[in-house]
């Protein structure tokens, strides 16, 4: 036991020695893993980051974006912690779902410290949508039906059971006074795009997702958004009511950010943190965020660590209250 510990210590020391020797870190063929199929929120993070870091000259090689879907991001998380733990050139898209799943223990045995959370750079609010020809005009009408029979309204979401897309309608229903919110009917699709077809084809009555994923279909008139789960109405879409003003005091904010392997060198961690701060300072990037209906939301360094820790704590508390974890 002692021997192995000394051995591990020696290896750690030698690794540290190597890393301090390489003074200036430069990204070489960097990669961003989007733990989902193309088209979702995580994919957006990687592609936007890859584009701006390269355009701004922060990285010299173009950044490769790899889609690694599965297990609601768990496949990518396990891949990073178990196979790429010392990769200095790897960043991974993260969001509220990442911390929510760590909190609920969906990534088997995962903890916050298994990876290094780099930064958040934006947040957007969840929304509940129905088909344009749906009988529900307001969130209250839908909630009344759910209160009468929780199984009467099928709600599609782009990720697995118990995910944040699932939690959001549960929180609304709890606020409406439903005793056992786990009785609600949630239909899990692989990705926001597929969930949208579920709604459009009439398989389900409602869709729980992020506002940006619904934008195109809202503009084309295919869907109606019953409520946005933000503190106040969006600047660009003043017609969409918030859940709060309809009497359900629930905020569903989904942050967007990145993590990287915990075993990366300190230089690399500092490099990527600076890189994202450079990106956030760029007006073009802020324009892209706004076009995607996202608000700026920045956390770096220790702030980021504390923010994620807080987020995990919140979800744990919430999940216990709702009764989906013990």
């Amino acid at each position: 036991m002692n021997l192995t510990r000394i051995g591990a210590f020696a290896i750690a020391a030698s690794v540290a020695g190597v890393t301090t020797a390489s003074a200036e870190f430069k990204a070489e063929s960097p990669q961003c893993i989007a733990p989902s199929n193309p088209g979702g929120g995580w994919d957006f993070i990687c592609r936007t980051t890859a584009k701006y870091l390269f355009d701004l000259g922060v990285i010299e090689d173009s950044m490769q974006v790899t889609n690694m879907s599965g297990g609601g991001g768990g496949v990518a998380f396990a891949h990073v912690t178990q196979e790429r733990n010392e990769d200095n050139n790897l960043i991974v898209a993260a969001s509220m779902s990442t911390s929510a799943r760590i909190a609920q223990g969906i990534y088997e045995g995962a903890e916050q410290d298994d990876v290094h959370f780099l930064a958040t750079f934006g947040a957007e609010y969840g929304a509940i949508a129905v088909n344009a020809d749906s009988k529900y005009q307001t969130l209250n009408e839908m909630m009344d039906d759910i209160l009468a029979d929780p199984k009467s309204v099928g709600i599609a979401g782009g990720s697995s059971v118990g995910s944040f897309d699932h939690i959001k309608p549960m929180l609304l229903a709890r606020e409406a006074g439903l005793a056992d919110v786990t009785q609600m009917k949630y239909v899990s699709y692989s990705g926001g795009g597929e969930a949208m077809t579920g709604l459009l084809s009439g398989s389900v009555e409602a869709l729980s997702g992020d506002f940006s994923e619904m934008l195109g279909f809202l503009e084309s008139g295919d869907i109606r958004i019953l409520a946005i789960m933000g503190p106040e109405r969006l600047k660009n879409f003043p017609d969409i009511p918030t859940a709060k003003e309809q009497g359900y005091d629930v905020i569903g904010a989904n942050w967007r950010g990145l993590y990287m392997p915990a075993g990366a060198s300190d230089e690399a961690k500092a490099f990527w943190s600076n890189a994202i701060q450079t990106m956030v300072a760029d007006p073009g990037f802020q324009g892209t965020l706004e076009a995607a209906a996202m608000a700026p939301f920045n956390n770096f360094g220790d702030d980021m660590y504390n923010f994620v820790a807080g987020s995990i704590e919140d979800v744990t508390k919430l999940s216990k209250e709702i009764g989906i974890i013990e």
Partner: protein, 514 residues
């Protein structure tokens, strides 16, 4: 008419010397990538995306290059299927069934030319379908809820038994093996690990490329090794190349087949999640059920058996662009990568794409037409060169192709475990061939298993556990009817054919006795 002028606008944007040159390069690279087992269209497109970016190409030239690669790979995958009995990608599996026997009958050139024409017809009509029907077709895609998807997959597996083997039990066994392998990995609905036994390698599931290369390419090598050992030299039989152009009467006899399978393939393409493999598969099996009821000529080098899957496969490729462009949902691996490319170019596919970015959409469609014509023009004369491959003795060609396949998969994943898994699949494939257990159903099971399960689970969630949802719509009932007919027909007909054959045998015996 407005559509046509928009299309003309697209052509105007696409027709520049640089773009045509890119299309030519793309078609060529695509054909090569497609012909190499282990690298399929999705890999071809994925490999070229960084190249397109580093060349600094704009959106339209990039799309032209990548669409040419996409269509080129679909053309190319049939070459190794016909010449070597090793499909260039999963969608070309069905082309092996009649393409290779046709080549062995001394008509490799004709099989290649015919399949090139078939590919052209399928892709050409499908692209017109994309031009005129995209908005209406989205409605077809939306007719399919989870229950209907589930029944569609049941139908695919039910019609499989009759065409794959003399022994339906073995075909179903192979389906079960494929589905069993598909279950390995993280469960997409709950995130639980299934059959991974704590091995991180298995968390993503077993890649179907690994299975394709192992079951087809490596098992072919093992098969040859065994034969060689028992005395027949690998190069004992030199294949005849024969005529390159099929007779006009042959082509004419395939025209009805082309018509039917274009529709089947196209619809399969439009449904997200099924794609080219299901398209080529259903085209083949339904065509066999239509024109070859006795089950005598399909599988022995029937030209219609070559045409059907190639038309279906290429029509499905065109069809799969419909949900990708108009809903932003990729229907296959390749369209997923094309979608990623569009996003990278700051174009968000979705219901508004046709009105927001008409120049992109129409030049994309124009580039599909250009690639398609270019491929036909390029492929027919190239048949002569491709068939020269057969002049290289099998004892040299076989290991080269097998190694290229293995390296192809390795180069994408970088995992040596993949290499060893392929060897395992190779042995399994050899054993299955010996025991007359068909291999195609295994691949189909791996490819479709997860979608099948997930849709069943969604359907059951929606219905609160009522199994009746599976027969809850007219569409579902029609699909069930096809599935049941497709399953039972070969059983009944098979018995009749066997009886008739036995009767004929008795007659000839009786005749020889006298």
């Amino acid at each position: 008419m407005e559509t046509l002028s928009l299309l003309a606008g697209g052509f105007a944007l696409a027709f520049t010397a640089q773009n045509l040159m890119l299309a030519l390069i793309g078609c060529f690279i695509g054909t090569i990538v497609g012909a190499l087992p282990g690298l399929g269209p999705s890999n071809g497109v994925a490999i070229l995306i960084p190249i397109a970016f580093s060349l600094g190409l704009g959106p339209i030239p990039s799309l032209i290059l990548l669409c040419s690669v996409y269509y080129g790979a679909l053309y190319g995958s049939r070459i190794s299927a016909i010449l070597l009995n090793i499909p260039g990608d999963d969608a070309a599996m069905m082309t092996c069934l009649d393409g290779h026997p046709m080549a062995q009958k001394g008509m490799p050139g004709q099989a290649l030319t015919l399949s090139a024409i078939a590919s052209f017809v399928g892709a050409f009509i499908a692209t017109w379908g994309l031009v005129f029907l995209a908005p209406q077709l989205v409605k077809i895609a939306l007719l399919f809820g989870p229950a209907e998807y589930f029944v569609l997959y049941v139908m695919a597996f039910a019609t499989l038994g009759g065409i794959m083997s003399n022994n339906q039990g073995k075909a179903l066994f192979a389906v079960a093996v494929g589905l069993a392998i598909a279950m390995v990995g993280s469960d997409s609905q709950t995130g639980s690990q299934r059959f991974t036994f704590g091995q991180i390698y298995l968390f993503d599931g077993v890649s179907f490329l690994v299975a394709v290369v192992g079951l087809f390419a490596l098992s072919e090598v093992f098969y040859f090794l065994e034969k060689h050992h028992s005395g027949t030299r690998g190069d004992a039989k030199q294949m005849k190349i024969g005529k390159l152009m099929p007779k006009w009467s042959t082509i004419k006899s395939c025209i009805p087949t082309m018509g039917r399978t274009t529709v089947i393939g196209f619809i399969c393409g439009v449904l997200p999640g099924s794609g080219a493999t299901l398209g080529s598969f259903l085209s083949y099996s339904l065509e066999k059920a239509t024109v070859d009821r006795d089950g005598k000529s399909f599988g022995t080098g029937d030209p219609r058996g070559v045409v059907a899957p190639e038309v279906g496969n290429n029509a499905a490729a065109g069809g799969s662009l419909v949900p990708m462009l108009s809903l932003g949902i990729p229907g296959s691996g390749t369209t997923a990568i094309l979608l990623a490319l569009l996003l990278q170019l700051n174009i968000t596919p979705g219901p508004l794409l046709f009105s927001k970015n008409p120049d992109i959409v129409w030049s994309l469609i124009a580039s599909l037409f250009i690639a398609n014509v270019m491929l036909l023009v390029m492929n027919v004369p190239l048949v002569g060169i491709f068939t020269r491959v057969l002049l290289v003795p099998t004892r040299i060609m076989m290991p080269i192709v097998a190694m290229i396949s293995v390296v192809g998969v390795y180069s994408l994943s970088g995992s040596t475990v993949d290499v060893m898994t392929m060897v395992g699949f190779g042995l399994l494939g050899w054993l299955f061939r010996k025991l007359d257990v068909p291999i195609v159903p295994i691949i189909l099971g791996i490819l479709l298993g997860n979608e099948m399960e997930v849709n069943l689970r969604r359907a059951m969630t929606i219905s609160d556990g009522e199994w009746s949802i599976l027969v809850g719509s007219p569409l579902a009932i029609i699909l069930w009817a096809i599935a049941i007919t497709g399953f039972l027909l070969p059983v009944i007909l098979g018995r009749r054919v066997k009886k008739r054959m036995a009767a004929e045998l008795n007659e000839t015996n009786a005749a020889s006795d006298t």
